[in-house]
């Protein structure tokens, strides 16, 4: 089973991650799993000499999670993926696709009757989500 599981919170997540980086850990990936309708478990996996270490962050769907991509650059891709698939948003991403990593930007066609309107419920107003967030992965 999972050894070395450290629970973290939104506040100390970046601090913990930075600590791991100083300790020489290699970033592996993030895994996101839905616990119930609007609670998610996000696991941060790190590796040092083939030993894995995990951080577990449990959040509700509308929390804005601080991105760890300023610490580990490689995290931007997987954080964008979670943004696309689960509709959880990360703050401070180095490269932010705003939900369009997997989906093309929606082209607004004013003369076309049937335009698909992107729902904006989970976006933060100032940054409209241009792709459709329908691709949510919820079990």
């Amino acid at each position: 089973m999972l050894k070395e599981m450290v629970p973290v919170s939104v506040d100390n997540l970046v601090k913990e991650t930075a600590g791991l980086k100083i300790a020489g850990y290699r970033f592996v990936t993030l895994s996101c799993a839905a616990i119930d309708k609007d609670h998610f478990d996000i696991l941060y996996h790190f590796d040092l000499g083939l030993d894995l270490k995990h951080l577990r962050l449990t959040v509700s769907g509308d929390t804005k999670i601080p991105s760890i991509s300023p610490v580990y650059f490689a995290a931007f891709l997987v954080e964008n993926e979670i943004q696309d698939l689960f509709g959880i948003f990360f703050e401070g991403l180095v490269i932010d696709y705003r939900g369009t990593l997997f989906l093309e930007k929606m082209i607004h066609t004013p003369f076309c009757k049937y335009t698909v309107q992107a729902s904006q419920s989970k976006t933060n107003g100032s940054q409209p989500l241009s792709g459709s967030p329908d691709l949510k992965e919820e079990s």
Binding site: V28, H45, L52, A74, Y97, T100, S139
Partner: protein, 358 residues
């Protein structure tokens, strides 16, 4: 200087699979590269809701055609770990043999595609010709050519007779000889070296920091190979990770080229040591718990996160494939190079897009 934005892909002659890169170029020098994915996203991870955990073996095999055997092995190992199943020793050795066979054929395929990326069609043909022998071994021992479907939770579904093992060894000796004959062309040819040496350099520290995996990481001089964890029967076999030093395209192709020989050697060792006995145990009950398993794919470290709640279907299956970890490297590798080097550099990480997007 005028800036131009060039869309590269998703359809491009060198890409076997669709990936899109938005390249910002100045003159012909790349200033910025941004990848975009999602052209072949199939949502296989969500199929856990429909298929039970035995049927998922066949689903994860289809994440990627080339490393299908290793995907299934990783998945089975994860379930076996959750359910505390002891896999028979012979099955472990057979898994090593099949997974190393898929490493050989994947590397040969990549070496061919890589040759194709700088326009060396003849070398491409030669590598793929050799690869056909490995595919034949697959078909003769498992019944299928590419998606071999030999793994099951609790062991493997096919056994090999001792004649077959001998036959594999003689076939591989043949493969080894033919690959070795292409070595001087790939590694010493003047034109190829001009196209690969010093292109797309990732330094040792940068590679570690970016979390790169597999041959891309080892070419930068870091001895990280998940096989060292000793899953399946790798703990009883003797091998050292193949290392490069320069971290450029040349080093990456050299590492992969040498890994072909390493895999042939590992199969030889496994055939010599393989014990007799059962190959599969019956599995009763349902998995409950969560786990993370890693195995080494031809492209690098593959990670499965599985969460099971004791029902027929798994709760969550998360697959992190090696190419996904290697894509951030492109963002840092490409700037500063000529536009004409983009195909070579992109192919040097061995992108497998259907893996990446599941």
């Amino acid at each position: 200087m005028l800036k131009t934005v060039i869309p590269f892909g998703p359809q491009h002659p060198v890409f076997p699979e669709p990936i899109h890169l938005t390249l910002t170029v100045e003159d012909e020098i790349i200033k910025q590269a941004l990848p975009a994915l999602g052209f072949v996203h199939r949502g296989l991870e969500t199929l856990v809701d429909k298929s039970d955990f035995h049927q998922m073996v066949q689903v994860v095999e289809r994440v990627c055609g080339i490393c299908s055997m290793i995907h299934a092995m990783c998945y089975c190992q994860a379930i076996e770990e959750i359910m505390a199943i002891q896999v028979p020793q012979r099955a472990r050795y057979l898994r090593v043999i099949w997974s190393e066979l898929s490493r050989i054929h994947s590397h040969l395929l990549w070496l061919g595609l890589f040759a194709d990326s700088f326009g060396f069609e003849n070398l491409f043909m030669q590598f793929w010709k050799i690869r056909e022998k490995v595919m034949d071994i697959h078909e003769a021992t498992t019944g299928n050519r590419v998606i071999v479907s030999v793994n099951a939770v609790g062991g493997v579904r096919r056994d090999m007779s001792s004649e077959q093992l001998q036959w594999i060894q003689s076939q591989l000796a043949n493969v080894k000889q033919e690959v070795a004959r292409l070595g001087p062309t790939l590694l010493e040819d003047y034109t190829i070296k001009k196209r690969t040496v010093g292109k797309g350099i990732v330094s040792r520290d940068k590679a570690y920091e970016l979390g790169l995996v597999g041959p891309t990481l080892r070419a930068s001089g870091i001895a990280q190979d998940v096989r060292m964890l000793g899953y399946a029967a790798f703990n009883e076999l003797d091998f050292e990770p193949v290392l490069g030093t320069d971290g450029d395209c040349y080093a990456r192709s050299k590492v992969r080229f040498q890994e072909v020989f390493q895999s042939i050697d590992l199969i030889g060792q496994a055939i010599r040591k393989i014990p007799g006995g059962e190959v599969q145990v019956t599995v009763k009950g349902r998995p409950e718990g969560e786990t993370v398993t890693r195995v080494e794919q031809p492209r690098g470290e593959l990670l499965y996160y599985i969460k099971a709640d004791g029902s027929k279907n798994l709760d969550r299956l998360r697959i992190r494939t090696p190419t996904f970890a290697n894509i951030p490297a492109l963002v840092t590798m490409l700037p500063g190079h000529w536009l004409s080097d983009v195909p070579v550099i992109v192919l040097s990480i061995d992108p497998c897009i259907s893996c990446t997007e599941r």
